[in-house]
Point group: D2
Chain length 383, copies 4
């Protein structure tokens, strides 16, 4: 089969620049996409950082101004892996330049910002997607498949948590490289936009829209040294965020995220309870899906721990043999594979910008509910 | 040592009548209390039921009217194991008659009812306690010990759930023997008073007072056949109940209980996250305590699964040898042992009626918050 | 129903005297046996120990000479809970006196000793059983049920281990109360007779006879202070014992027991692998059975963790409600219930002395194989 | 830093060809080796297969005769990923041609074959290594580190199993692509060389030499259709293999491997018990290490589940952030990184051919012991 080429221009070379770049490199080897991805250029404000990254990952060229990158005629896809505060401007410009756009989550710092981004890509008619990568963990995709088949029956409960512990020390500064997530001006919010956004994205994909929320947030450490400003500053992000919710389908939910749960590194957990069965998953053992099927014979009913590594499990036919697990980064490879397949078939890869906007409507509602101490209805609409 | 005798009169011979009676029988063998418990009389409305129960458990006599039981001069302790709607009347009468009173949880159907009970036992000056048995699971008592020692440091988060699935079928009737828990008139509430009460009791014991709550409740099956009334009736209990809370110590909490979580039989789970460490426990594997200690050396840090069966673990020196576990009913035996020891030492066994009232203030607040859709402050006071 | 009485005379008041006595007391309350057990007498060499035990457990009288106990006309059942070296003499005398005999495992110190015991009870025609209690753990009984139903198909593998760590310290003495298990003259052997005997008993019950074995044993600490002799003596027991085996049905097995497995208190584990499914269990979480059923649909196949606490699980209808677990001592209560039921129905309760003798033939073969460093066929016969 | 190039020639493009090729591609990106690996050529008997593989993985050229590949002056490293029967001939030729040699495990089909290979690479003085990849799983490397530090004290027990279930169906043919592992002529042996070789390699690396073994093997399905020969043929491999062993340090071991353990896909487990602590690991959750440290305070002692994903855990600083796991294929990348570092520092990457030969001496002893039904001493020496 003759493959087309797709020239990628990456903005940002931090943690997410690495996960995306690895996906670009590995997708061709393990999947059979209709496109050869060419790592055309990487852009970072520091030329040295860009060059070093390009050398490591095999990018052909570097830029230090993302506008120059967007302007290049040899770029097909702009991939955004920068801090949240820059997502909107870059994405809108890229769309206007007719580029496909892939954007790290969350889309914008607020639903308003995100709505403008949706408008831009839809006006330009360019393919677009947001890197909510956890949907593409094989066990999570299997959960989706089982839910779609109606295995669980009427849904009663949804539960999700994302627990970390990396900001407990009061000595940790805020701001600057790797620490912009503690700076609300850059990040938009704290754990609500960073961690809960993942939980909400998966939840609505699996269980439909969220109707209303009642939330609380907390900032445990109120002041931290700011490495950019050079002095102690108030901390303006939410360190912890929890909310009650009702889904459109009538089910009840609890959501919680925090960076103050000692002993948990990146424990994203989810559970769905339905009339006929239940499903549970967690990121610390990401290749396993726990399911309970009430229709199993009574005396042998129990939670099954499925080691999602068989060739008939989602994506796993592309990897090794049963029993041999894959890791975190593979979820990005899978998303890229689906994106490329979507280009061929014309089916939009989910989540698109428009779908991701729904998550921002929920996080907005969560933050407002916590501030106003009342139940808040989630805004229905889109752009 | 000369032992005193303590004559027990039990009211109610259902599930809880059995757990209490077993505690009365086993405490003497495995602990070394200063009292010999004498199973003097059991009372049930049905004489046949009472006689059969007495024969099985070794009660010396039966009554069919609890007032007659309370009036008997040969009874020292009235133990209440009847449906919730009768707790207050019996307890108050027993206190007035100068009896010690032990009452199955929750104390009353509402804080108001409970407050009257507190007043009665305190006015009478009689020893009293409420059977919040889960405190006496060895692993939970070990958790208490670790918290008391300050091992966790400042507390950030508390999380508790009590998940069951036994009422999912719409064919299950309400009311009558074994099913009064679905009848709000008898039970007071649904899962809030039945299951969350346990979670709240343990939580405040481990982590201090709860300041305010935001709750939601749901009744998934709105009508059920009523076995007593003989026709389909609206269901007035809460099938599910979840709430956000803030503790007096500033920590955040999520609580949830439901009888619609397919695959979970009696999954009471709790977790506390503190600055230096975390603790987790669940009732389905009740002899294990999971702890995380951040002060362990970095490369070997991990959650430890403590098999709480050693002779230096709480209560376990009284049972078998390390590795051999005990079960659910032992928590009642332990509570009775502590009660008898308290009689000797003059230290009130916790939870007393007064302490248990605090839990009812929280459940009241939860139900009001769910009804009014707003944050509710927990009433501070007592009787 | 009119109940008959059964008068029990217990010999030995150590750890096993306690587990048996608790069974005698609890069986009447939780099961509905045709017999009332009367705790008639307990016998120990020390009158003080016997009296204290009798007071705690409710025995009506004490003896200090087991021969006197055996001679008493008011005793129906002699229960033997003494060190192994005394089993044979007591059991044979009891049988000759026409008493029913229950004996703590292992039966004798060797198959020869056991064979004489079998001969005695069979010649006397008295009911008899050996306390291989682990068969009566509900999860293990459920495993038996599934195997009997042919759920696993042809069996390929059996695996069992019993791992402890309580004798690792070189400072631990041998001999005397509680430590006779380290003295081969009293115990017969070390872990082979103490721990492997349990594994072998369950294995042959579940999977049929063992044909041949190849074993190794080791004594890690070669000398210990002997508390009775009062000086350092060679240790003559096996601290660890492992063997390969072939069952009559062609399946292969590995067995291992040790008291030098740091971190394991009483970790008895077993696993069976068959054509259609597998089963696994361990004593540290004894209420759970893990099963794998290959006939489950491919993408949702996984090991199921069955929380064996439902009313339709073996024995569990007698206890609490689903989700609430029981413990170690309950296995003895269940065995007593089955024994009493067997008296009514005339069906011998397993394991009888004759069945338990089979285990001694295997442990004999294991010890001989380890000594001679060669494969040894298991003696087929009985007494 | 100026990087040197290292030109790789791969023989074999099956499963192992893929894992090795992925390692060659990824090592440069995630580690910082002194060498750029160039995928110079891949060789397979089928030109089509070779071309397709080259296209997928980016090999510059193809060969259909490994002798032609070995003869090419532009190849620095010959990597052998063919069926076992061809390892020796290719490796010896490559060594004679002065190439570095990397060989998939096991080295040869027998210790004799392997010894000739050792002789060849040592005579030629070429760098060499065998792909016993599981040593490079971060959790296993952490185990090695803890053992080296003496954390466990004197070792009493070692236990390893490798359980699979993929050959249970009698309909599965033998021979041919992907099924040569069932053909003893090609594979050398069944699970002994395939699975136990991994267990033995790790065991001797962690716990020193194995002195003697007593083994049993079994072939459950005695005849299968042979896809190459085209008719039913006897099966000559061992389907299952288990053995007892004594290590040079006096510790005892049990080893077992099978392809008939229903429910286990690739369950490689290992456990070491020492005086002060124990360690356990399994391949199905490969990023976790379980450790027990007896020096922890008594009441909080328990098995710790270490999620080996921190930046100070072996290799993990090269990947993502704490909590995010890696998978199976990464163990090959790590081994290649170590090999390249070894080229720089002159330290031989383990296991070298010579070290891997020790494993073949053990597997030879295992097979002989099973055949002769007796204990067999492991041959001490090397080539």
């Amino acid at each position: 089969m003759a493959r087309k080429t797709l020239n990628v221009g990456l903005v940002g070379c931090g943690f997410m620049g690495r996960t995306h770049s690895n996906a670009f490199r590995q997708v061709r080897t393990f999947f059979d996409p209709g496109y050869d991805l060419v790592l055309k250029a990487v852009c970072a404000r520091s030329g040295d950082a860009a060059r070093s990254f390009a050398e490591t990952w095999g990018y052909e060229s570097v830029e230090t101004d993302w506008k120059a990158l967007v302007a290049r005629p040899d770029i097909d896809l702009i991939d955004i892996a920068t801090p949240n505060s820059t997502h909107a401007e870059i994405a809108i410009a890229a769309a206007k330049a007719g580029k496909m756009v892939a954007c790290e989550k969350p889309l914008g710092r607020s639903a308003a910002e995100s709505a403008a981004m949706v408008e831009a890509v839809e006006a330009a008619g360019v393919p677009n997607m947001v890197w909510y990568n956890y949907r593409r963990v094989p066990a999570v995709m299997l959960a989706k498949q089982l839910v779609e088949e109606g295995r669980l029956g009427r849904i009663f409960h949804y539960r999700a948590k994302f627990l970390q512990d990396w900001t407990i020390s009061a000595d940790l500064p805020q701001g600057g490289a790797g620490l912009w997530r503690l700076d609300a001006a850059v990040a938009g919010s704290g754990v609500t936009g960073d961690l809960l956004a993942h939980c909400i994205d998966t939840a609505m994909w699996l269980n439909g829209g969220i109707r209303e929320v009642s939330a609380m947030t907390e900032t445990f450490i109120r002041e931290r040294h700011h490495t950019v400003i050079g002095q102690v500053q108030p901390v303006t992000i939410d360190d912890a965020s929890a909310f009650l919710a009702r889904f459109d389908n009538g089910s009840l939910a609890t959501f919680e995220a925090t960076r103050y749960a000692r002993g948990h590194k990146a424990l994203y957990t989810l559970e769905i309870n339905g009339e006929h069965g239940s499903i549970a998953w967690d990121l610390h053992d990401l290749h396993r899906l726990e399911i309970f099927d009430h229709r199993d014979p009574g005396i042998t009913r129990g939670w099954r721990s499925i080691h999602v590594t068989d060739s008939d499990h989602p994506y796993m036919g592309r990897w090794w043999v049963p029993g041999l697990q894959i890791g975190y980064e593979h979820s990005f490879i899978h998303q890229m594979a689906d994106f490329l397949e979507g280009l061929e078939t014309g089916v939009t890869t989910i989540p698109s910008f428009r779908e991701a906007l729904r998550t921002d409507h929920v996080t907005d509602a969560v933050l407002r509910s916590a501030r106003d101490r009342q139940w808040v209805k989630v805004a229905a609409g889109g752009a």
